[in-house]
């Protein structure tokens, strides 16, 4: 800023000059008044003794008083307020310039204008000064307005700062939540992969990287078929059928270095939000080792099936040869009979174990055939005839349902033989076994009922009889040869056929088993 036009220097200089004039006036006035007083009292013989001189001195004194009064009035009434006002303006402008909140250009312009006005003021007449004070007043108003706006802006800025702080806090919380979510996703023991609707991958977890032998950057943004060509994508899903569209499949996957062949189990499910499919979640698991173990187990079951049954057959058949030989001693025959019976027991145990393994491994496949229950149950009762006759039991059948059912003859045989064999085993001599079959109207089901007049199942143990390896106390006491697997296998098989089994029993009165089966069972197990 030009020094010459600095209003502050000008104002200060003017103020000092005014004070000096005032001081000088006061001193002169005191001197004159003193002299006038001495003249009047006649205490001192002063220079001016005539009346004219006396009046002149008095006039000069009065003029000085008037001059001083005018100077003082000018200073107090005009110069001081203008100076102070301009001082405030200057300070305010300086403050405003130092801040960034308002339009700087506008303020600089205002400052320049005021400076110019001050320069004019310093050399102009009283009229100019009054005009300038009016102009200054109008600009002061504007400045006041600007200051108010500035205050509003400052308030807004404070509000904004508060919001920014809140946002920062929320962002920190979000970052924390995101970190937590990522940690959870990474700790899932299965591989996780998420695609958008377009099939492009946007999320994978650490386990997936491990399974596929890839890093995130190799996968993100890629189309899923480029990573897993055989995977099933829910792309074609419609909104309607997507609700229950979980899909499980097995994929052959060759690791990136082509060294490892893997079998991955994939379960995919669409991501649905407000009836819109956003993409698909894939959960992948390396089942290579698991399937190899399962295969080995299945092979063992198959091997056991053949290898264990073969010596049992040999034992039983050879025992039969001895039993059917007329020249063999009676005691030898008794021994051969025991060998034969133990052979049957072993056979039943092996069959139960094999069925159990098949149920556990889920390898049961039904081979469905048309079966006429009257003929089919007759065949089963024929195979049980030796045991029925041995105990002199009465075996009654009542098959009302004459139409064929569709079921697996092997597994239905296991079900019915198990229950019938139990009925025979746990019914005392001369008891009655009844086998009935009838249709359940409206249900497309057949109800097979097997009842006996046997020892019954104790009330306290009835809830456990379908449990694996469970045998009721009274059964254990009367027969030691049960293995506790029969009814468990029966229940599981009936459930696989979408049927139902239950019983009613009274101790020492008898038991009735109810088997409800669909007339046509489903081949899909």
């Amino acid at each position: 800023m030009n020094k010459k036009s600095n209003p502050l220097i000008k104002a200060v200089t003017f103020r000092v000059f005014t004070l000096l004039v005032l001081l000088f006036t006061i001193i002169i006035y005191i001197i004159i008044l003193g002299l006038a007083y001495l003249q009047y009292t006649g205490g001192i013989d002063i220079i001016y003794t005539d009346t004219t001189t006396h009046l002149l001195i008095t006039l000069v004194g009065v003029l000085f008083v008037i001059g001083w009064f005018l100077s003082y009035t000018l200073y107090i009434g005009i110069i001081k307020p203008v100076y102070e006002t301009l001082n405030i303006i200057s300070e305010t402008v300086s403050n405003l310039i130092s801040k960034d909140e308002i339009d700087k250009e506008q303020v600089v312009y205002l400052s320049e204008f005021i400076n110019h006005s001050l320069f004019q003021l310093s050399k102009s007449s009283l009229t100019h000064k009054i005009n300038l004070s009016l102009i200054t007043e109008s600009y002061l108003k504007k400045l006041g307005e600007l200051m108010r706006q500035n205050e509003e802006l400052t308030n807004s800025q404070q509000e904004l700062s508060r919001l920014v702080e809140q946002l920062k806090d929320q962002q920190e919380l979000l970052e924390l939540e995101k970190a937590k979510t990522n940690a959870i996703i990474d700790s899932i023991p299965n591989g996780l992969l998420v695609t958008g609707k377009d099939g492009n991958i946007f999320l994978v977890n650490k386990e997936l990287e491990k399974i596929l032998g890839l890093v995130v950057d190799d996968v993100l943004g890629k189309f899923i078929y480029n990573i897993l060509p055989d995977i099933h994508l829910n792309k074609e899903l419609t909104k309607k059928d997507s609700e229950n569209h979980r899909y499980t499949s097995f994929l052959d996957y060759k690791s990136i270095d082509q060294k490892k062949n893997m079998i991955l189990e994939n379960t995919s499910n669409p991501i649905i939000l407000n009836n819109d499919i956003l993409g698909t979640v894939f959960v992948l698991r390396d089942t290579t080792q698991e399937l190899a173990t399962e295969r080995a187990q299945k092979e063992f079951v198959s091997l056991a099936s053949h290898q264990l049954r073969t010596p049992i057959t040999s034992i039983k058949w050879n025992a039969e040869i001895i039993l059917s030989n007329n020249i063999v001693d009676k005691e030898v025959k008794l021994a051969a009979n025991d060998i034969y019976k133990e052979g049957i027991r072993m056979e039943k145990l092996v069959n139960s174990l094999l069925n159990l393994s098949r149920i556990d491994l889920g390898t049961i496949k039904f081979n469905i055939q048309e079966l006429y229950l009257d003929k089919y149950t007759e065949e089963i009762s024929q195979t049980l005839k030796p045991e029925i006759n041995e105990k002199n039991l009465s075996f009654e059948t009542d098959i009302k349902f004459k139409n064929p059912i569709k079921n697996d003859p092997v597994y239905l045989d296991i079900i019915l033989t198990n229950i019938l064999y139990n009925a025979i085993k746990y019914t005392n001599t001369n008891g009655i076994i009844r086998l009935k079959a009838d249709i359940i109207p409206d249900k497309e089901k057949v109800l097979i009922t097997i009842s006996d007049t046997g020892i019954g199942i104790p009330q306290s143990q009835q809830s456990q009889i379908f449990s694996r390896l469970f045998r009721a106390d009274n059964a254990k006491n009367s027969h030691t040869d049960g293995n506790g697997l029969g009814l468990y296998v029966v229940k599981k098989l009936i459930e696989l056929m979408n049927g139902n089994v239950w019983f009613e029993s009274q101790e020492n009165k008898g038991t009735t088993f109810f088997i409800e089966l669909p007339i046509v069972i489903n081949t899909e197990v």
Binding site: S302, K316, W317, E320, E347, K365, N367
Partner: protein, 121 residues
């Protein structure tokens, strides 16, 4: 009338009992313990009935059944196996069999009686 039966069974103890029981009821038998030998015999000779095990050394029962069916659709074939699963039964039933027995589940006396009935029908 005399019937000729071929027993294809690799387990000697079982083959011996079968042979004994069938001969006791007047049936002429021939026993073979190996699948490939059985194929050779089938190609050269005819039988009224063949008792066939499924798990055999040399060639399995499924292969032998296919060979039998290539030669004759009418030869009676009784499967005697310890494979009890439905799918094994379904597989041989497709090729054409007269009966299917799980050996461990049928007493020998009952089995010989069933074979006799099958031969006479």
């Amino acid at each position: 009338m005399s019937y000729r039966i071929l027993i294809i069974e690799d387990e000697p103890a079982i083959a011996r009992v079968l042979d004994l029981k069938l001969r006791q009821i007047g049936i002429e038998t021939e026993v073979v313990n190996d699948g490939s030998l059985a194929l050779d015999i089938i190609s050269k000779d005819d039988f009224d009935c063949i008792l066939l095990d499924l798990i055999l050394p040399g060639a399995d029962g499924f292969t032998i059944l296919e060979a039998i069916r290539k030669k004759s659709k009418s030869t009676k074939v009784i499967i005697m196996t310890n494979l009890g699963q439905s799918e094994d039964r379904a597989r041989v039933e497709k090729l054409g069999i007269t009966a299917y027995y799980v050996k461990s589940e049928v007493p020998i006396s009952q089995l010989t009686e069933l074979v006799k009935q099958i031969l006479m029908t």
